[in-house]
Subunit: 118 residues, 2 copies
């Protein structure tokens, strides 16, 4: 019971434990887009994207809607966006501790800095 919940949590984290899948979720942040669009944005192999999407689907993280020839993907649960936002704060707080990076961060353009942390 308790452990089942943890396995479930772990499976969600695991689904996000890949740069490509994080990029996918981030791409879906503002609404649904087609698989083709995602592929173009990420610049990866079609089969590979499909595999990653299959993983996100199997974890119920994304929903897909067929429209004619294409498939549109979207986030099933907006709470995940908030999780990612929280993660961003985590990274900010964490990076602040990294002395070596601190210099670069403070030196760079603020707008660029914000963008980089997205």
């Amino acid at each position: 019971m308790q452990s089942m919940l943890r396995e479930y949590k772990a499976s969600i984290f695991q689904a996000l434990a890949h740069p490509t899948r994080i990029a996918i979720v981030e791409a879906l942040r503002d609404g649904e887009i087609s698989a083709r669009t995602i592929q173009e944005r990420l610049g990866i192999e079609q089969a590979n994207l499909s595999q990653h999407l299959a993983i996100l689907r199997s974890r119920q993280i994304v929903a897909n809607r067929k429209e004619g020839n294409q498939v549109f993907y979207s986030l099933r649960n907006k709470a995940l966006v908030k999780v990612l936002d929280m993660m961003r704060r985590y990274f900010q707080a964490h990076l602040a501790e990294e002395v070596q990076m601190l210099g670069e961060i403070e030196a760079e353009d603020p707008a660029r800095r914000k963008e980089r942390l997205d």
Copy 2:
């Protein structure tokens, strides 16, 4: 740059992508405890716990403090707790969609239910 950040995020998610490591982080939620205590609570092999702690250490998720014979672990960044809280909401929202589980959830004792969702 953007992709480095994603790899970093992915590495944090990956560090949490195991039930045992989630249990460890949850055990550290209320403050530092010794490795021995964690091991007793989780009921796992000593070597195995040490391996998982090494992973959390390598991702800078936990800090460790030596005191005599034992080592006390703690969370480096409280923001992670908020991430986990957010995840809990995610699970709750998600579980609410799962019709088959809904029956069981509503049928069970409320106190027990809250505990299970932790």
